[in-house]
Subunit: 492 residues, 2 copies
């Protein structure tokens, strides 16, 4: 039983947009319910003006597929819906079809923790078009958000330069699941621990926490509050020092830190949660060191993100552990990834795949036709370029050329000596999960190993290095042809 099921007992099959069901009705009525189609889930731009993205959320998505089944309740609810003439929206025969429906699709996906780039499919769904559509909304919901947060977390961990980051976001997260799946994704992206105890229990993420301002306020004075806390929890002492006057708070913490040391315990550190964190951390460090508490760490929190952390580092702040909440779990500066799910091909009456594309006046929004896969080319130093190719265009040409989908004059020739691997792997075959559930530790390690494969410039926050991703030449030519064809067809 995976996490999704531990949390959600109810049927989630209706966690979808109504238009998926009205289209399903349409496909079924026009006899096309079983027509095979391929959809790709991808995004068009790295979040946060960044240079990379870390895929996450697949475990939830697979569990959604595994559980997919309309309940009796679901069907009764759908039977009540009416169209604009007051008559039922769905016919009883169609509802009976849904009632018996089992997912028979094939899914390919990139493993969680993989570094990915715009236009590369994170998930590819192949199967009856009706089923592909019914999976769309939930797959987008589950993968968009966790991918966003894993990426945000990795950016924040880069900013601290290896100092541990604690995720403290639950109270400001977007709902229960905004808290739980954020803790999961933040851990994948590199956070060391969370304050969220349920995430600790469900995912095995280390949990951290000591006390709040209210603890201090509930005592007559701050020193008593620290002493009583140390008495009760001698093996978990990080004193929050800014309830009244921060540096006085540090002095009180030092008094108790010395008492702890004398009693054979150790003060883990102090926490700053307001004020000028650069100035206060430098002064606090000096006071702690002067008192011989050189191992006591300074934890800081207060609306931190990668920008404020970078600035504090530049100012010489003596912060060793970073507590990050709201801005991490809500991805404050860009709270949605903007992933999309687009039709790539349908199988026609002659049982041949027919590639499909959606036009847009913005080139970036025109989808790429075909059954797409991403091939990553590597040399001894790491990844050099990613090629999106169409499996229908097999065999691929020998002298591989990459063409930038948005600027065809940008091309890259790929040396034949390069190694390569395809990013999408089979995860569901005919509705059965074939991807073994991975431990969160393994996914987290993968994210780190993956980042190490790339030029460090992609991790820069300002004007990051742009890693080369392009279309395989035949695919590029085919897409261009199709766009011209589609535009001509619409001039009738």
């Amino acid at each position: 039983m995976t996490t999704l099921t531990k949390i959600y007992d109810t049927s989630l099959t209706l966690l979808t947009d109504l238009y998926q069901l009205t289209m399903a009705h349409g496909y079924w009525k026009t006899g096309r319910a079983e027509q095979e189609a391929v959809f790709h889930l991808y995004f068009r731009k790295n979040p946060f003006e960044g240079g990379y993205t870390i895929a996450a959320g697949l475990e939830y998505a697979l569990e959604y597929v595994r559980r997919f089944q309309f309940s009796g309740d679901d069907i009764s609810y759908l039977a009540e819906l009416e169209g604009n003439d007051g008559r039922p929206l769905f016919s009883p025969e169609f509802l009976s079809y849904l009632n018996d429906l089992e997912i028979t699709c094939d899914l390919h996906a990139v493993p969680e923790g993989t570094v990915v780039f715009p236009h590369e499919p994170l998930v590819r769904v192949c199967g009856p078009i009706l089923q592909c559509q019914l999976l769309e909304t939930a797959l987008l919901n589950l993968i968009n958000y966790q991918t966003l947060i894993a990426t945000k977390s990795a950016r924040i961990c880069t900013a601290t330069g290896g100092d541990p980051v604690l995720e403290f976001g639950l109270r400001r997260a977007q709902g229960i699941d905004g808290g739980l799946s954020a803790s999961r994704a933040a851990y994948i992206g590199g956070c060391a621990a969370t304050s969220n105890v349920l995430a600790g229990k469900l995912f095995g993420i280390p949990v951290k926490g000591t006390h709040a301002h209210s603890w201090v306020m509930s005592f007559e004075d701050e020193l008593s509050a620290f002493e009583e806390y140390a008495e009760a929890m001698p093996n978990n002492c990080v004193f929050l020092v800014d309830t009244y006057n921060t540096l006085e708070g540090v002095r009180n913490a030092i008094r108790v830190g010395i008492q702890l040391r004398e009693a054979g315990h150790k003060m883990v550190g102090i926490r700053l949660d307001s004020g000028d964190l650069a100035y206060l951390s430098i002064e606090a460090r000096r006071l702690l060191d002067e008192a011989g508490l050189t191992e006591a760490a300074i934890v800081a929190s207060n609306d931190l993100d990668e920008a404020t952390i970078t600035s504090l580092k530049t100012q010489g702040a003596r912060i060793a552990i970073w507590g990050v909440g709201t801005r991490l779990v809500t991805a404050y500066d860009q709270p949605a990834l903007g992933g999309v799910y687009k039709l790539g091909a349908v199988r026609n009456e002659n049982n041949e795949w027919e590639p499909k594309l959606k036009l847009s006046e913005q080139a970036i929004k025109t989808s790429t036709p075909g059954i797409l896969q991403t091939r990553r080319f590597l040399n001894e130093n790491g990844a050099v370029a990613d090629m999106i190719y169409d499996e229908l265009q097999n065999p691929l040409p020998a002298g591989n050329v990459l063409i930038d989908p948005l600027d065809p004059t940008r091309r890259r020739f790929l040396d034949e000596s390069l190694q390569s691997e395809d990013l999408l792997i089979p995860v569901v075959r005919k509705g059965e999960i074939v991807h073994q559930q991975e431990s969160l530790e393994k996914i987290r390690e993968r994210a780190q190993q993956q980042l190490d494969l790339f030029h460090v410039g992609i991790q820069r926050h300002l004007e990051p290095h742009e890693y080369p991703v392009g279309l395989e030449q035949n695919l590029y030519n085919f897409k261009t042809e199709q766009i011209l064809l589609a535009r001509k067809l619409t001039q009738s």
Copy 2:
């Protein structure tokens, strides 16, 4: 059984920050577990630079309180946690205390849909300090997010000037619950319907949807796609016209709209999802009207929010129905409310309430001591001012004066002829829910009625009217004294 329980079968008691449990351990060990305390949940600033906030999320919060109970699993997990010396973080006796713990607190809250302002308590929790702390994180999580989204929704509905708003956000929401509770809160704020079918089923919200670009792409041409859709779903026809060329799409929709009319049905409308929505909606309206389809509505979507909607309205866009997704359900421009939960008072050894405050160098962050309530004063035209007062300062003085907590020179005298009502009502007594669950319709109506009580200027998006909220004079004086006292105390 309320919605929360329908969705979440697992124990949510650990949906909290670890420090609540370490503090609980501390209170228990120092013999203060049962010491009575009062906490207030409030925010410091209206979101979105706006002039008001709509409270939401209480139903979930109450359900959380009702279900509160550590499971055997929860206790086993806590027993495994270790401190920095490798020894258990929690003693077995304490875990046994938790195992038997039942909530005995009193909660007061403002009903969902109430218009509220900064510093006014949304929830007041009174009871054993250990229990108050254990409820903190979940209450913040549940109320912060739904309040944020209800407010965002109301702002968007104001911008459309009464045109229906459809919430389409599920695919970009922050997790499953980010989708579900957003649909609920968006409906409270005034949205007319959602695309989220599970939200429709669980909350009774009207659901809307027709077809996507993929429907059109899966056919040989757009006209066939519309015709086949109309054949299958004649009572639910809103044609998405921008898959290839928008105005050509409108012409195809008109062809099918005429066929529908001839067959005794009615085309509900068309949907624009890209391009220049002002220009395209004006042209589409002209084409529809020329064809006699004057009742066909133009629906628009594409990253809309109150700012783009206002701009489109100013440009004379002929949009009748607005589909709003990502920017509503993630509250894109401010994805967290920033609500806090602060200690107001504790009962001392002499069984007397002792007011408490947290200092900050920023006046806005200094908490207000006491057991707080908000009294709203009204005349025949509506609300004139809100007074935050301390129930411990009873009886209140006759000539009521409001003092702006951030600028004491701003005062308002309240006429004795004014009516008044207190916003916080009892919702939990000794751990038992005493607030009857309200229908979502009723909450939604309340939000609208409440907004109508106030000067319309609070709904302005740019530089809104600032509704007067102040502290009752005795409370203001007491708070000022306490701040001075606390600052002196810390100069030791």
